[in-house]
Amino acid sequence: MTDVSELPNTAAGEEILAATDLHAFYGTSHILRGITLRVRRGETIALMGRNGMGKSTLIRTIMGLVPATSGRVTLAGIDATRMPTFARAKRGVAYVPEGRGIFGTLSVAENLAIAARPGPDGTTEWTIPRVLELFPRLAERRTNRGDQLSGGEQQMLAIARALLINPRLIILDEATEGLAPLIREEIWATIRLVRASGLAALIVDKSVRELAHVADRVVVLVKGEVVHEGPPATLLADPDLMHRHLGV
């Protein structure tokens, strides 16, 4: 019998996501132009760049929702370049898309129930009672339909649902967009909590400063290429870089 903890692809510090020289097109426009991005276990990456620079396309290519025309995607050491989206999710990548992607015609309880599953190593750290504990507001609204929730509640539902697949990596695309300041703070608190639980995260957000504060590393995209990569402090200390690539 093999002890699961001894398997090489679950070792601490291991890369749980490696995108290598990724290219992708949207119609005829070349959106991703050779992006290489690595996320190690427990690491939080801030993916930054102005609108239209390829952040969402990169995420969708990682998820298999946009086909990579060349390059490789590896998940915990396994080549996932040709894996269908559901198989990537089962290999531990959770994705909260821009616009949240919750099922509006399903109840809150159903939204959670259809997502809940053990993670790739058989872990069941995140269960429905536990996410409801994390978001008590969802517990109160269990029987409500998804489309009856407020924007903040929908975002909580989307994050709760993502956690329930017991991922190794959670990808958040514009999770605080369009929310009231108080709710945004609640979402950031959740992100910090998720980070503290040891889950790796890849985050896109317009609030550069908040994002830089939770990130271990910042990756900046310009026209489908990585133009800067480093610790958040370097970015925050370089007003020129912030202005040129992020417009801040």
Partner: protein, 289 residues
């Protein structure tokens, strides 16, 4: 107009409507989840009727045809999805229509080769070949009551499956945001196969139940397909409960119309459809907006 006659027509209308629901529910489910308008759905109904004919001819009872239609229908539906339909979801609507139209021709040709082009009547099962007395002067076919019972049982089962089970929730989720179903780790291809299997099984079952009532004949699926489309449109594309109430409405309007105002009955349901579409373009139970 006698009260007994009216009651009989009322029951006929309910029975016809429930049979339409079995066909329309599969049609609306397949459209709702996969976005495919399956013109061959009426042919599947015809296949069910011929299954009833062949089973009755060789075994002597139509009842054995019911489990055959449910199980073989589900397997056949899954096979059709896996082999054909799956490759057409991302194609444009014209390709999809051509595929399902070609299937109609194939099913009709296969029927012609294997069974022939004659009309055949299918005997009502002997256990139900009597009339149930309702009032002193009025009795009603036990077989039609049985059809109503089977259809209602299937409707309730379908409703509970869609509304109360995990798989049902996944199917509703897939109809709303197909991409997100995959994102949460569910293989949407299996959802599609399941939906097709259930839709096909229901169409075949409707065909089995209909065979003793309407006989079996070439092209018998076409008329039922067109009326089922009216049901689906009035009920709201993709809505199971919409299809249920709409099927009952159409069954009653069509049956009572033919009985009492035969001159305009042929038109009645289409006028009704036009009126509903003008008043509520997404159907009676469709999502608005």
């Amino acid at each position: 107009m006698s009260l007994a006659g009216f009651l009989a027509q009322l029951l006929n209308g309910v029975q016809y409507g429930l049979l339409l629901f079995l066909i329309a529910s599969g049609l609306t489910l397949i459209f709702g989840v996969m976005g495919i308008i399956n013109l061959a759905h009426g042919s599947l109904f015809m296949v069910g009727a011929y299954v009833a004919f062949l089973v009755t001819r060789s075994v002597g009872s139509v009842w054995l045809a019911l489990p055959v239609a449910l199980l073989a229908g589900a397997a056949f539906g899954a096979l059709l999805e896996r082999g054909l339909f799956r490759h057409f979801y991302k194609r444009d609507h014209l390709d999809q229509v051509l595929l399902t139209f070609a299937l109609i021709l194939l099913f009709e040709e296969a029927r012609s080769i294997f069974v022939g082009n004659d009309f055949y009547s299918v005997p009502v099962p002997t256990a139900f070949d009597f009339s149930v007395p309702i009032t002193a002067g009025f009795s009603y076919s036990a077989y039609r009551f049985a059809v109503i019972g089977v259809c209602l049982a299937l409707a309730v089962a379908l409703f509970l499956w869609i509304e109360r089970t995990r798989m049902g929730a996944i199917i509703r989720a897939a109809a709303e945001k197909p991409e997100m179903v995959d994102v949460i780790g569910i293989d949407a291809r299996r959802v599609h196969m399941t939906v097709f299997a259930v839709g096909t099984a229901l169409a075949l079952t409707a065909g089995v139940l209909a065979a003793p009532l309407y006989s079996v004949y070439p092209g018998m699926g076409d008329g039922f397909l067109i009326i089922s489309f009216v049901v689906v449109v009035i009920g709201g594309l993709g809505s199971i409960s919409g299809a249920f109430w709409s099927a009952l409405l159409i069954g009653l309007v069509d049956t009572l119309g033919k009985a009492y105002v035969p001159a305009v009955a042929g038109l009645a349901i289409y006028v009704l459809m036009a009126a509903v579409l003008l008043w509520r373009p997404t159907g009676l139970f469709g999502q608005r907006g």
